[in-house]
């Protein structure tokens, strides 16, 4: 088996970071950053998700390219769904002109 066994210290460290980030995101939401609040919240969430994927789910250590391909294409498709729908929604708002 070409398996990578990680030290439990690493897992605990990641855990600590994740907990801290949770605290930070909860706290930062109460600070007025204008439109940046949403951006920060999403960045933190993505950071946390990335840590989970890379370390807990071992993607960083797997030799398998396919796993990454799968993840990236799923995200790409999510982007298609959201992005192309927004070509409609950005312009068409309730009570706004645009749509016929």
């Amino acid at each position: 088996m070409s398996e990578h066994i990680l030290s439990s210290k690493l897992y605990w460290t990641i855990w600590a970071v994740l907990i801290c980030l949770t605290g930070i995101t909860a706290w930062v939401s109460t600070v007025d950053l204008g439109p940046l609040n949403t951006v920060v919240a999403l960045l933190i969430a993505s950071g946390k998700a990335l840590l989970v994927v890379l370390i807990f789910m071992h993607v960083k250590y797997t030799s398998e390219k396919l796993t990454r391909v799968v993840i990236i294409s799923a995200l790409f498709w999510l982007l298609i769904l959201l992005g192309l729908s927004l070509t409609d929604y950005f312009i068409r708002r309730p009570g706004l002109a645009g749509g016929a």
Partner: protein, 545 residues
């Protein structure tokens, strides 16, 4: 040859290994599961077809006289739901794909045999729910389930039917999952990606769509069901919801779903065309990549079903231009099939007749898709019989033709018997003629302005409707024939050789029917796909059998 065949008949294979209900209902053999699917989709096809005949009968006269308005609405809804979700989407992948994917890559089974069986049970569970919904109250939303009609106005069994389709969705997802993993992980030694039969490429592409599209329709139907039950308001304009959001979500799946329906059939046609012109396919790489291209670009075009739905103008422009992009890979395929015939050694066997039918009718259906993607024209013809004709040309003229062609082509492998060739050709001809008579008039009807889903219509449309109805009865005969002679041949048909067409491909390298684990020993591939230069046409095939 006769002796070899009779020995084969006594040999143990997947069909005669075990008998009894349990050995079928609990089987994990992909070949048996394929046959379970075959039986069930055939059942649903005839139900859906029966509804189609009733629709056509009602439309024989302008007045709504045969059935009630509500009944008519239920008829076309159930026709659409059954034909799309319970026949066409599983048709080629779940029957031929299930049977052939492991055989073609030299594996002993799909990667997850139990999941494969589970997928059939999802299909059956969904089917039972939908049939039950049909018998108790029916469903009258159209196969598109548009809100707010489906969520707030229809008083039919929307919840049950929605759940049925939802559960059935998992059968698609599980099949797709199995195919992708199998194709990635279980190819025989030497079977590189560039040696993969095009059938597998198209199933790979199909699986991608099944995996990434189906979950979206699943959650959408869940939301519809919840909306109906708890008045969530997500799709309800009286509460600030946007009915168009439903349409976006629905078509995000349902447009790519049309490629779930066509791609596998395209794979079948690639196999047939090469085999019966004894030639390597023209432009292998391009045909393979066209499948992938269709699968990917197919996700970019969904809102072309919503040009007049009240979308923003810019979205309409974007989706129109993207719709044209997806037509390019389809064009590539049509041209390559045609070019494959060039300097081939073409035989007019039944599967090849179906393949010809496919190419011709798909081309016409596809070209009329170009009309629909043109914004200015779609405004006039959307929701008319022009659209109905467009999709029947592709789905019935294309996919069903391809499916029937594939059934004939692989029937000897599946059953170990030959079907009667001249009956086969006759049926193919009847289907082709009946089909055109049924659906060509609908193009004209549509442009003249006859809206779809109409139970009664102004009298000036009658002539064309009568033609269409007449055609549909011919079509019915054409579909009943193969069913009859396939059943007949299971008992009385001539025993088939391992490779009756002398075709390329690993599935022909094992016995007919194959043993439970497909191959006595794992094959090692040392040749390119479609190495027809090494496989001269059989004498028997050349002459009428």
């Amino acid at each position: 040859m006769a002796t070899a065949v009779s020995i084969a008949a006594e040999r143990e294979h997947y069909l005669n290994k075990e008998y009894g209900i349990r050995s079928w209902l609990l089987t994990t053999d992909h070949k048996r599961i394929a046959l379970l699917y075959l039986a069930s989709i055939t059942f649903f096809f005839f139900i859906g077809g029966f509804f189609a005949l009733l629709i056509r009968l009602e439309l024989l006269t302008p007045a709504g006289d045969l059935v009630q308005a509500d009944t008519y609405n239920k008829l076309f809804t159930m026709h659409g739901v059954i034909m799309v979700f319970f026949f066409l989407i599983p048709a080629v992948p779940a029957v031929l794909g299930n049977f052939l994917v492991p055989l073609m890559i030299g594996a002993r089974d799909l990667a997850f045999p139990k999941i494969n069986l589970l997928s059939w049970y999802c299909y059956i569970a969904g089917g039972i729910l939908v049939l039950h919904a049909m018998l108790t109250g029916g469903l009258d939303t159209g196969w598109t389930f548009y809100t707010p009609f489906s969520t707030a106005f229809s008083n039919t069994a929307v919840v049950e039917a929605g759940l049925g389709v939802f559960i059935n969705g998992f059968s698609s997802i599980l099949t797709g999952l199995n195919f992708i993993v199998t194709i990635h992980r279980m190819r025989a030694p030497g079977l590189t990606w560039s040696r993969l039969p095009l059938f597998l490429w198209s199933h790979y592409a199909t699986s991608v769509i099944m995996l990434l599209g189906t979950p979206v329709i699943a959650i959408t139907l869940v939301l519809v069901v919840l909306e109906r039950a708890f008045h969530l308001g997500i799709f309800d304009p009286t509460r600030g919801g946007d009915p168009l959001l439903f349409q976006h979500l629905f078509w995000f799946y349902s447009h790519p779903a049309v490629y779930i329906m066509i791609l596998p059939s395209m794979g079948v046609v690639s196999e047939i065309v090469t085999c019966f012109s004894r030639k390597r396919v023209f432009g292998y790489y391009f045909v393979a990549m066209a499948s992938i291209g269709i699968a990917v670009i197919g996700f970019f075009v969904w809102a072309h079903h919503m040009f007049v739905a009240g979308m923003s103008l810019y979205a309409a422009l974007i989706f129109s231009i993207l719709s044209y992009l997806v037509a390019v890979p389809s064009a590539i395929k049509v041209f390559n099939w045609t070019a494959t015939l060039y300097k081939g050694s073409v035989s007019f066997s039944t599967p090849m007749l179906y393949a010809f039918g496919f190419i011709g009718l798909f081309t016409m259906g596809g070209l009329t898709g170009l009309f629909l993607a043109a914004l200015g024209i779609d405004v006039h013809v959307t929701d008319t019989y022009f659209v109905v004709a467009h999709f029947h040309y592709i789905m019935v003229g294309g996919t069903v033709m391809g499916y029937l062609g594939g059934m004939h082509y692989w029937w000897p492998k599946i059953s170990g018997r030959l079907y009667p060739e001249s009956w086969g050709r006759l049926a193919a001809l009847i289907v082709f003629l009946g089909f055109n008579l049924t659906f060509f008039p609908q193009f004209i009807l549509g442009y003249l302005g006859m809206p779809r889903r109409y139970w009664q219509y102004p009298p000036e449309f009658q002539v064309l409707n009568v033609l269409s109805t007449a055609g549909s009865t011919i079509l019915a005969v054409g579909y009943l024939l193969p069913m009859v002679y396939f059943l007949w041949s299971m008992r009385y048909g001539k025993l088939a050789d391992d490779n009756p067409w002398n075709a390329a491909g690993l599935e022909w390298k094992t016995t007919s029917p194959p043993p439970t684990f497909n191959f006595e020993e794992t094959p090692v591939v040392t040749w390119e796909a479609y190495n027809y230069n090494e496989l001269p046409a059989l004498e028997e095939v050349r002459v009428e059998r």
